[in-house]
Structures are given as C-alpha cells and as structure tokens.
Symmetry: C2
Subunit: 193 residues, 2 copies
Amino acid sequence: MVTTRNTRADVVEAAGRLFARRGYHGTSMRDLGKELGLLGSSLYSHVESKQDLLVEVVEEGARLFGASAERALALGGTPRERLQALIAGHVDVVLDNLDVARTFLNEARMLDAGHRRRILEARDRYERVFRRVLAEGAGEGSFRPGLDPKTTTIFILSVLNAIERWYDPEGRLDRAALVDELSAFALAAVGSG
Amino acid sequence: MVTTRNTRADVVEAAGRLFARRGYHGTSMRDLGKELGLLGSSLYSHVESKQDLLVEVVEEGARLFGASAERALALGGTPRERLQALIAGHVDVVLDNLDVARTFLNEARMLDAGHRRRILEARDRYERVFRRVLAEGAGEGSFRPGLDPKTTTIFILSVLNAIERWYDPEGRLDRAALVDELSAFALAAVGSG
DNA sequence: CCTACCGATCGGTAGG
DNA sequence: CCTACCGATCGGTAGG
C-alpha cells in the first residue's frame, strides 16, 4: 500500500465527511488531521482556516444543486414533467454527495455573515426555479385550485431536503423507488396525481 | 427592576435558546452563563453537566410531541380528520416551543448513545401514530391507491419538521393559514384533497 | 452564585 | 508535512 500525500481536495472531502457527521463546531482541526493521517497543524499548508473549509464544502453544495436545476429545466416539457425532473435531479445530488449535501443543509448557518448571505441567495435562486414551475402549472390550470406556488415550493423542498435524515441506501427503497414515491407524493400534492 | 436568582428551569430554557441558535457544540457554558447574567461555573449549582442540559431540553421536546399526538388521537374522527388534528397539534408544539423544537430536531444527535436511543424511540412512537392513521385511511380506500403509509408518513413529517427552518411568525402566513396550507397539501398528497 | 483555579483542548503560527 | 509552540477557551471542581 502506497501512502500518498493528501491534496487540498482530499482535505475538503474529509472535512465534509466530519462536518456532516459531527457538525462544524463538533469537529476540530485535530480530528480532521487524524481522519487524513496527519497532524491538525499540517492542514494549514492546504487551507487558510477552519471556516475556509466550511465555505468550500457549502459552496460546492450550492453549485451542485444549482447545476441540477439547470439540467432539469433544459429538458423542457410540461410543468408536471419539469417538476419530476427537478425532483429526480435533487435526489441524485443528495445521494451522490451525501456529506456535501448534509453540510450544505445543516451547517451553512455556521458560516460568517458574508458567506452565509451568498449561500442564502443561491438557495433562493434554487427555490425560485421550483416556484416558477409550480406557478406556471397553476396558471395553466393543471394543478389544484387554490395552490399557493410559494408555500407549496417550500413544502416540496422540505421533503427533498429531509432525505438525508432518514434515507438508507441499503434499505427497502432503491433510488428509483425513492424518486417514484417522491414524485407520486408531490404530484398528488399539487393536484396533478 | 428586581433581579431574582435563576431557577433550574431558567437555565434549561436559556440552554434551549442557545442550543437552537448556535448548536450544542457552538454554545459554551460561559455563553450560557452570560445569557443569564452569571458566570459559567455558577451553572454547576443547577446542573451536573452540559450534556445534562441537552438531555433536558431534548426530552422536553419528546414529551411535547408525544402529548400532542395523544391529544389529537383522543379527538377521534375519520383518518382524514385525525391527520388534520395531528398536523394542527404539531404546528402548535413547534410555534409555542420554537427553541425546544429546534433543539429536539437538530441537536438530538449530539446526545450520548444511551439518551439518543431513548429519543429515537420516542420519535418512532410519534411516527407510528401518523403511520397508523394513514394505514387506516388507506385500508378504508379513502386515500389514493398505491399510497405507502410508511413513506408517506416520513414525507408529511418532513414538511412539519421543516417549519422551524423557514416560518416567520411576523410573515404573511399566520398560524391558522399555515395549518390550512399544510392540511391542504397533506390531504391532497394522500389523495383526500 | 462567586473566587480561584485545574488540565485538556482549541484554532493557528514560525520555521524547517 | 512535522516540530514546537502560542494565547485563548473549554468543561468542570473546591470551597466558600
């Protein structure tokens, strides 16, 4: 077994792992060093500060969700189809980047004010993509009467963002079944079941 | 203004406030002392350890949700009506005990193994109440065909548990409107819209 | 509830 | 990436 030097990307990845598991404040630089087989102080040749690591992980999360929304919209289709594509894309981001997604969802509030603002803006942009799709479907009359696109978007994203809290890849639902259940639930909720 | 000595309940309440805002590991005993106008070391005449405070806050959350489920079931009614009562009760618990609910939802994983297990069990019991109601409605054929009570319960609880993340009591939705939106969404999702 | 303190750990730096 | 270290802060205790 060859032991190679860690890259900056290795450090960021391990940081995501620990931040996801124990939280930002529950992870020390010495913990992170141990995870990588080096001393806490050695991390400072890769990174400027602990906060810096949180910024990198959380911003990667923001990029992943943003890119997923763009891909889903590029497929076109009816509001119903676009909503399904957004859901499937969201699931892929979470399941393929579980630690990053968890850190993005749970630890972003530990960022300093400036970085937190940028992340909140990215989150708002992502939310607006869902909202536009729902508003369009509601405008067409494809969804149930009285549906409020803003509130409904928050509810659907609540379900999607909670996946990291309970989903077990080894459990009875595989990825396709999860997406099916989510789609059936969300489409029924918007009245396009 | 009369400055009275703090009670143990005051300490637990302030702990909930800080744990909710900055997280368990982001809160020091000195922070908590400052919040109450005393020194960190003085807290130890009220409490045995920092972990002890987390246990108290999280177990209060578990009690509140458990009691809410009992009250909702005691009302009886159709599965549809019981689901609505469960939703309204959940909203009351969250909005009337925001700090406790946040700590219960986000910081319980910081508990030591023994206490964490007890909380997971309480959470499972609460979830089973929802599941039984959904299973009964599905058995009666009142809900959409193909509805999986287990998965649907998780989805509905995901929406309810996310309220603390976005709801603003000063915003456009008052409590009754929030409950209405949640009910409309959940009932449509189960196919009883 | 305070004074006075404990050993351990924290994020981080200088210099190699 | 390590050695050797810094001042600050951590949870917690003894004694009043």
